[in-house]
Symmetry: C3
Subunit: 135 residues, 3 copies
Amino acid sequence: MIEIIKVNTRGQGLYEFTTELQHLVSRSGLSEGLCSLLIQHTSASMTIQENADPSAQYDLERWLNRLVVEGDPLYTHTLEGADDMPAHIKAALTSTTLSIPVIDGRLALGTWQGVFCWEHRHAKQQRRIVCHLGG
Amino acid sequence: MIEIIKVNTRGQGLYEFTTELQHLVSRSGLSEGLCSLLIQHTSASMTIQENADPSAQYDLERWLNRLVVEGDPLYTHTLEGADDMPAHIKAALTSTTLSIPVIDGRLALGTWQGVFCWEHRHAKQQRRIVCHLGG
Amino acid sequence: MIEIIKVNTRGQGLYEFTTELQHLVSRSGLSEGLCSLLIQHTSASMTIQENADPSAQYDLERWLNRLVVEGDPLYTHTLEGADDMPAHIKAALTSTTLSIPVIDGRLALGTWQGVFCWEHRHAKQQRRIVCHLGG
């Protein structure tokens, strides 16, 4: 089964979609299997990270923004805005695809793990994540 | 089939579990398919790396420690120890999930490739890796 | 079904193989499923990136070369050449495995996404990518 999850973003940062993804798994009736994700963008990515304390997500965002700066004189790919080339680099350093086992109808995540869309651009976006569920 | 591999770590560094993973594949009787892994933690991760020369693993560890330092004044997420926020960042930059094809009952790794748990914390830990085997 | 895609590289940079991968999917007759990839090397990796404007690929390469320099006095793993240890680090920071859903016989990539082999060494190489197609 394949479905699309849409995540509406409002600027840079981490947007959790674990609950929506679990709903999709539950609706599918899959008991044991694999949930594979692809985000269909090159200026946003995904990560599985701590979802308990928002300060961890805040620091992740700020650390990555310091590593991959806007306005770097190295960039030649600048026509799509100052946040575009940094977004591609951040996407390359994080995850475009993920594969999460499913046990007893539940995503087999650890206690503190959530699944996030990582938005790297400033403007509002709607991000599409393709979810494949298999046995 | 889904099983859990447990990796006992004794401080930061790379811990290979290729042999244990191959045993799991062999026991399953799977001839051709896909072995998908999820590490259920946000302060440890995984990597597929050279397993021949330990100096490559040593340098990987030291390079990443220099890139993601402890005590960075940027961090606000500091309650769980000086090595906690760097561990989350390192996990985000490396792999939380991996998918390895299986051919003729063997993990289809390259000649020099091993599968490693990458521990980012100093204290001893037991890390859980969920392994899904599918056709 | 499992097949090997071979990518001939001529020095550092991104080498797209989306077309070859789509041909493999088409030949397989798979309508809906998952295409999982493993590159069998530790000094080359993969990425899903923008394939419209070559300047994005050019900047990705130059940015990563500036982050992970050759001749870093930190390295102890130096016997295989000045570009070897940086290649391992770059591989660890990008992707060794990827999983791409297939819909209606097509890789479910976004409009601007291509699949690339990322060569991190200077000499010519032939890189092997194992492709697993499953339901």
